[in-house]
């Protein structure tokens, strides 16, 4: 039970980090129809900027400044890159963001090199906040959880209770009509894009020092974020939250309880020949399966429920 709670804690933590990334992506996707392939690259930029700023100043300055810079970079790319490409349709936009992802990766390698940079957890937050039933709950991981939950609450409040939030939600379903009411849709697109990138930047700041800050981090996390928004349902922030938590928890539990397939079958009371023809199959462990699970869920979701858990329109 204790270990289950610890695994759940890590699962929720990973899930909330995925949500920070997915929330921006789903806003951009549902509003502009742009599948921003470069979204995880802004996560990576967040981590690298945070590393650089913590070197010069400190982690707290990085937590504020890095996402702002990432947001400005994102807004600039939308304004001077994506907007002119927009008239050539969604395929051109997708290819554009695909290119941006590689440009960012190469730039990062040019500036910071191919090996991971030493972006560390701040000293003040290393160590355990408390130890419970033999498991250390580190200060920093609890902090990550607090930051991501706070951002979820702030985002939810922004979209629900403010006028700009109303305009964004309306523009998600019908941008043309919102424009006839006198709202500047291209400008709203630009800032939504920048804001979504800034959210990914926050995830990079708080996650980069735990997951490792290296040029491959965007490519590693990028695809799974798409899985989150498809499973959650396009345009649904609540759906993105639920899907991110499901994927976070399922993958962490599978790694934590590292059962072999053979022993699972035996535990179910079935007989299996662990030395015969199926020998290699029975050696597979759930930890090995864990990275595939999200994509399996994606495939099943697209077949059986293409609108995702809470989506209102097809992919």
């Amino acid at each position: 039970m204790e270990s289950f709670i610890f695994a759940m804690f890590n699962g929720v933590l990973y899930g909330m980090l995925l949500f920070l990334l997915a929330s921006g992506l789903t806003l951009i996707f549902s509003m502009m129809g742009v599948l921003n392939f470069a979204h995880a690259s802004f996560f990576m930029l967040g981590a690298y900027f945070a590393y650089q700023i913590s070197e010069g100043l400190n982690f707290w300055a990085a937590l504020i400044v890095a996402p702002v810079i990432v947001g400005m970079v994102g807004a600039g790319i939308e304004r001077w890159g994506l907007r002119p490409v927009h008239r050539y349709g969604h395929v051109a936009e997708l290819l554009f963001t695909f290119g941006v992802a590689y440009v960012i990766e190469e730039l990062v390698q040019m500036i910071w090199g191919r090996v991971p940079v030493p972006y560390e957890i701040p000293d003040a937050m290393s160590g355990a906040l408390f130890t419970w039933q033999g498991f250390d709950y580190s200060i920093y991981r609890v902090f990550m959880l607090v930051v991501s939950v706070a951002i979820f609450v702030a985002l939810f409040a922004l979209l629900t209770y403010t006028r700009i939030g109303l305009i964004i939600r309306a523009a998600v379903s019908d941008p043309i009509h919102v424009a006839t009411l006198g709202h500047d849709i291209p400008r709203i697109f630009m800032w939504t894009f920048g804001f979504g990138c800034a959210l990914a930047g926050v995830a990079g700041v708080v996650g980069g020092n735990v997951l490792g800050t290296e040029p491959a981090m965007a490519i590693q996390l990028g695809p799974i974020v798409f899985v989150v928004i498809v499973i959650g349902g396009l345009g649904s922030l609540g759906g993105a939250l639920v899907a991110a938590l499901i994927i976070g928890i399922v993958t962490r539990l599978a790694i934590f309880y590292d059962y072999g397939v053979g022993s699972l079958v035996l535990a179910l009371g079935l007989e299996i020949d662990t030395a015969g023809m199926l020998r290699d199959f029975t050696r597979i462990t759930t930890a090995q399966v864990a990275p595939v699970l999200p994509y399996l869920m994606l495939v099943l979701m697209l077949i059986f429920k293409p609108r995702g858990l809470f989506g209102t329109r097809d992919v």
């Binding site: 109303l166 939600r169 379903s173 043309i176 006839t180 006198g182």
Partner: protein, 231 residues
């Protein structure tokens, strides 16, 4: 106030609007009549900028053709589309708030005005836009556009598919809009309503204006009615 001269518009290669000219004066109600598919809705969309216009469109003495949609709206042109685009995930009240262009300036309409005129909407203020009736959605769409305080409102088929009692309410609202000095360009299928409230009438056929005149001139002209309106 609104002067349209030799307006053309295209959907792909089809030439939908072929040289339309029309005027709407300040505080005037003008109806745009015609059978389905003659280009009435497209004319409105070309004025809002949703469909690219070719030709001259002047509003309050300034050219607006080619300007961005939100700029045209901010100059004072309100538009109520035919398909009642209620934002389904927003409540009735939020839909109204969305219509406000600037929180700083108080326009001639307030949310309370709307609720007073339509007690139905007041009762359902916190209901989602997707769950209210078709009639309520129609009221809400018009009210939402009014919240932006337009000087000219273009309304596309406001009574289509509504029960007779609601049709009466809509024409009451149109009268109230005119009373507050807002000009109306109305696309309406129901002749009696259009003629009842309009000052002037334009009839469209095949992408062109085929008749233009006062309501009494229109009533006296059976030929136009037979050729361009009756099915």
């Amino acid at each position: 106030m609104l002067e349209v001269r030799d307006l053309h518009a295209y959907y792909g290669k089809s030439h939908i609007i072929q040289g339309v000219s029309l005027d709407v004066g300040a505080g005037e109600i003008v109806s745009l009549l015609g059978r389905n598919g003659v280009g009435r809705s497209t004319t409105l969309k070309a004025i809002t900028g949703e469909v690219e216009p070719v030709g001259t469109i002047m509003f309050k003495g300034e050219p607006i053709a080619g300007r961005k949609m939100h700029e045209i709206a901010r100059r004072g042109i309100g538009y109520v589309p035919e398909n009642r685009n209620i934002f389904p995930t927003l409540t009735v009240r939020q839909n109204l708030i969305l219509g406000i262009k600037s929180m700083r300036e108080q326009g001639r309409w307030s949310i309370d005005d709307m609720f007073q005129m339509f007690p139905n909407l007041a009762e359902r203020a916190d209901a989602l836009g997707s769950v209210i009736s078709g009639g309520e959605q129609q009221m809400l769409t018009i009210c939402r556009t009014l919240m932006g305080d337009p000087d000219l409102i273009m309304i596309d088929e406001p009574t289509e598919g509504l029960a007779p009692k609601l049709v009466e309410q809509v024409s009451g609202l149109l009268a109230e809009i005119a009373k507050r000095g807002v000009a109306i360009l109305l696309v309406e299928q129901k002749l009696d309503i259009a003629l009842d409230i309009s000052h002037r009438v334009h009839v469209m056929g095949h992408g062109k204006i085929v008749f233009e005149g006062s309501v009494s001139e229109f009533r006296a002209n059976n030929q136009v009615r037979k050729e361009w309106l009756e099915v």
